[in-house]
Subunit: 262 residues, 2 copies
């Protein structure tokens, strides 16, 4: 039997203590120096142990106050919401339907013409070199970013239309697409889970150990032509991803994924 490493024991002990309520959410853990004495080891080893918990997203260090147990509060992320007859209570977020705790939602919109990524190209069925219009939104709550949301459409489809207005479009951008003869009637959603890049972590103010979901929503019109691809970055600690399905409204076909999953 191999003895478990000291740093592992420290992490395990503290994790257990957090789980059983010894350290409730928001409370302070013992300092590195205290743990160094308690476990009769060096500070580097204690830091290694605490690092495990930080990377699990369980605690966060606040310099120079100590380590604190993280408190979680999640919003509902509901990609199907835009297909609902009754719009959600707060319509500035098409995807977020939830208790905002009285925090003020807002969003920054930026429209540009870009070369699409391979993922977007595959989903829109574009030739290499073809350009797309990108509508980038940063959704905020009380001024801090809550998620990133980039919609892409063939440039030829929306050039000169309201879709490219870098501000709220009252009737919704989907209504604009419908007016252009491409109402979105079907959407395929894909979620890729991963850790954020440092840039993403910074933009979204993510603590260490917080995973994200990269959400690709591909919208098809009645002709089954892909019209719009929306790429969202959804921080895992701030959302629950929710959707539902009905048995009597099933679709008759095999899953159709025209592109290969990476």
């Amino acid at each position: 039997m191999k003895p478990t490493p000291v740093y592992q024991r420290i992490a395990d002990d503290l994790r257990q203590a957090v789980a059983d309520g010894t350290y409730p959410p928001g409370s302070k853990l013992p300092t590195e120096n205290v743990l160094t004495e308690r476990y009769e080891t060096s500070r580097a080893t204690v830091r290694q142990g605490l690092g495990v918990l930080v990377n699990e997203g369980l605690v966060e260090p606040r310099r120079p106050q100590g380590y604190f147990v993280i408190e979680h509060k999640r919003l509902v992320y509901r990609p199907q919401a835009e297909f609902r007859r009754r719009p959600p209570a707060v319509d500035i977020f098409t995807n977020l339907v939830a208790e905002y705790d009285g925090r003020a939602p807002s969003q920054d919109i930026e429209v540009s013409i870009v070369e699409p990524t391979q993922m977007v190209r595959d989903r829109l069925g574009l030739e290499a070199g073809e350009l797309v219009a990108a509508r980038r939104r940063v959704r905020k709550l009380d001024g801090t970013a809550y998620n990133l949301n980039d919609s892409h459409v063939r440039l030829s489809l929306v050039q000169g239309t309201d879709w490219m207005t870098p501000a709220d479009v009252a009737r919704g951008t989907n209504a604009v697409l419908a007016e252009l003869g491409h109402e979105i009637v079907y959407a395929l959603h894909e979620f890729y889970l991963r850790m954020p890049s440092p840039q993403e972590a910074q933009r979204l103010n993510l603590g260490a150990g917080v995973p994200i979901a990269e959400h690709y929503a591909t919208g098809f019109d009645a002709d089954e032509t892909p019209i719009q691809v929306t790429v969202s970055i959804v921080p895992g600690d701030r959302h629950v991803i929710v959707f539902d399905s009905y048995r009597d409204r099933e679709n008759s076909d095999q899953p159709r994924i025209p592109w290969g999953a990476p």
Copy 2:
């Protein structure tokens, strides 16, 4: 302007090199000693930098060979599949429909009677103390666990039925529930993203930096009574979560979430 820490620079440089193809998936990074010399620093600092990339799930250490860039291959995780008329190609997995790359799927099933967690209790609308039947499945590909899948039903509903058979039920457990007068016609899916606990990481053989989704699928019968709650642990690096939605088949109501999100 603050200078960026050395360990940060090491992580950034290597991340960039991985991104631009200098180190393609599967290839070997420079060793710690090489990096120590290259950056004229100490080995601990180099390790700190490499640790960043490991926690991002970008590289993995293989002792004593070095650090390697991780290769990703994902299966399609498709919770809606069980509502499809045509069963998926491989029916041993109700949720996984995908290219298995010739790997052999299998599952271990274990049935027991347990006290439900708070999450399950909330979703099934149980009183404190009420017991549930739990059907635990470990789904495997070529012998290694691919995801964990625990279904829960009121004990009084399924005691003595085929639902509690600790083996494959040919007609499916949902058919058993239907025979009992509780066909599941509606399902609500919730995904909570987080880092795995060490136990989960070990059971699923997860590398550092691999997030998971905790998937709660609550099945309702025609009376809108919650019948079954299935909790799945879905490793983020091995799956894409996929579902779709149709405009002309929308549901008429506001999102209904009878319990509070934690």
